[in-house]
Structure formats: structure tokens, C-alpha cells
């Protein structure tokens, strides 16, 4: 077991442990904060795997943007700050069985299939330079398509979340939150 494997194992334990806390904690805000720990440990794992640009993108987008979006969602749905008892649905044990079966199946197949696969880690493989030239030479068409997709998703999110546009906008613009007798 080399040093990189030891570090990666520790980071993986942190990532999986905090992911378990995300899906089992009784406080919504704590779930979002444990998600930060999980994503950060995964970014460290990417660094160990020499994918440094992916690691920084992970920190920027997941830890920076997605968590903030989730916290905004928690805040806007007026979730309770403290413990709430009804975060788990009734089919918890069935879900546990399915998840355990998935874990056993995936781990067995992957370990049987890639038991002897070994790769030496050479630095520089995932630097911003090599990844940038890869994106803008070979993968430039999917990159542009993806930018259009992101724009479409942005427009869709704005249209969905604004209440003064769309069908039914004529009767009470913006008064969707407090107008009960507007119809």
C-alpha cells in the first residue's frame, strides 16, 4: 500500500462517512454542510489521482455554487432549523435493502473485474493546460452544445420561479404569494 493509496483511502472514508451523515441526519442544514465535507474530500481524491483541474472545478462549482443553491432552497422553503422528525419516509428499510444490494453488487463486480489494474500516478496529467487543449481542440463541439444547454436551463429556471410571467400572469402580477382572493 503506497502513500497515495493511504491518503486516498482516508479521503474516501471521509467522503463516504459524511455522505452517510448527509442521508441520515435529522437536520436539513447539517445535511447540506456534511455535503460540503463529502465534496471537499472527493476533491482531495481527485488531487491524489492527479486530476488537479477537475479538483478545483469541483471545489468552485460544487462547494461554491451548488451548496449555496441548496442552502437557498432550504431557506426559501422555510425548513425548520432544528431537528425535524419526518425527514425519512416510510419505506426506509426497503431503501436500505436496495442500497445494500447495490453496494454489494457493484463492489463485487468492480473488485472482481479490476483487481489487478494498477496505474502509476504521474503528475501533470490533468493540468489546466492539457485539459484546456483537449476541450478546445477535440471536444469543442460538445462544449458549445453544453453552453447552450446551460443557457436553456438558466432560462427555464427563471421562467419557472418567476410568478409574474407565464400563463395566468394577467391576474395579479407578483401577488402569487399572498393573494388568496385574486381569482
Amino acid at each position: 500500500m503506497t502513500g497515495a493509496e493511504v491518503v486516498f483511502t482516508l479521503l474516501g472514508v471521509v467522503a463516504v462517512g459524511s455522505a452517510v451523515l448527509v442521508v441520515t441526519t435529522r437536520r436539513l442544514v447539517h445535511a447540506a454542510l456534511w455535503l460540503v465535507v463529502s465534496f471537499g474530500a472527493l476533491a482531495g481524491g481527485y488531487l491524489v489521482l492527479t486530476a488537479e483541474f477537475v479538483a478545483w472545478v469541483q471545489v468552485l462549482i460544487y462547494v461554491g455554487a451548488v451548496i449555496v443553491l441548496l442552502l437557498f432552497g432550504i431557506m426559501l422553503t422555510r425548513a425548520p432549523i432544528g431537528e425535524s422528525a419526518d425527514l425519512d419516509s416510510g419505506n426506509r428499510w426497503a431503501a436500505l435493502a436496495v442500497a445494500a444490494a447495490t453496494a454489494v453488487l457493484l463492489v463485487t463486480v468492480l473488485v472482481m473485474g479490476f483487481r489487478d489494474a494498477y496505474t502509476p500516478l504521474a503528475p501533470g496529467g490533468g493540468s489546466a493546460e492539457s485539459l484546456g487543449s483537449g476541450i478546445f481542440r477535440t471536444w469543442v463541439l460538445p462544449f458549445e452544445v453544453l453552453s447552450v444547454l446551460l443557457l436553456a436551463a438558466l432560462v427555464g429556471a427563471i421562467v419557472l420561479s418567476r410568478s409574474d410571467i407565464g400563463p395566468g400572469a394577467g391576474d395579479g402580477a407578483g401577488g402569487d404569494d399572498d393573494g388568496k382572493g385574486e381569482r
Binding site: A15, V22, G45, F72, S89, L110, V111, L121, L131, F143
Partner: protein
């Protein structure tokens, strides 16, 4: 590094995400579990990219694309969740049963004081 380490971590993360999607009731927690599953996929992509020593870096570039798609997904998902909250005053995914096929089961009673809002949401 042996490839088994990142693969096992990714498999465990994915099954934790599966448990979260199936067992959680709050829609935002379901979205968080979906993010966990997407991260497991990303870890697999990076590990295989490093293992295959791809000169075009297809795996890592696809990881970046997956991160972007996850960001778009979380934006749209939260917009839908906020719309549901605005119409129903709750975001429990197992109480949103208007589309189920079985018409004989009684629909869960709406919260007192929000009945008109529920009908308005159904009309819209």
C-alpha cells in the same frame, strides 16, 4: 495506485445516494442524494481516465461536462421544488400523489387553510 480504491469508494458513494433518494422525504434532500450519485460517476470517470492514460483526456473532460449538467439540474430542480412549495406549502415527495393511477385511495387531506391554494395549483 490500484484502481480498486477509487472504484470501491465510487460504488459506496453511489449506493449511499441510492439510499438517500429512496428513503428521504424532503425534496431538497432527494436532490442532495442525486448529487452524491453524480459525484460517484465523476470519480469513476476520473479514475478510468487516469488508468487508460487517455491522451485526449476524454474522461476528465466528460467529468467537467457532468459537473456542468449537475449544476443545470440542481438549478432546474430547485426551481421546481420552489414552485411546488409555493403551491402546496410542503415539499414532501411522498405526499405529491395527484398523478397516481389508483383513484380509489383517498387523497391526503390538504393542510387547513391552504385548500384554495392547492386547487389553484392543480388548475394551473
Amino acid at each position: 495506485m490500484h484502481l480498486a480504491y477509487p472504484l470501491v469508494v465510487a460504488a459506496l458513494l453511489f449506493s449511499v445516494g441510492v439510499y438517500g433518494v429512496l428513503a428521504r422525504r424532503n425534496a431538497i434532500l432527494v436532490l442532495m442524494s442525486v448529487e452524491l450519485m453524480l459525484n460517484a460517476v465523476n470519480l469513476n470517470l476520473v479514475a478510468f481516465d487516469v488508468w487508460l492514460r487517455d491522451r485526449l483526456h476524454g474522461g476528465q473532460v466528460l467529468t467537467l461536462f457532468t459537473i456542468v449538467i449537475a449544476a443545470a439540474e440542481i438549478g432546474l430542480g430547485l426551481a421546481i421544488v420552489l414552485l411546488v412549495y409555493r403551491n402546496r406549502r410542503m415539499i414532501d415527495v411522498d405526499r405529491l400523489r395527484e398523478l397516481r393511477e389508483d383513484g380509489t385511495a383517498p387523497a391526503p387531506a390538504p393542510e387547513p387553510g391552504t385548500g384554495s391554494r392547492t386547487e389553484e395549483g392543480a388548475v394551473r
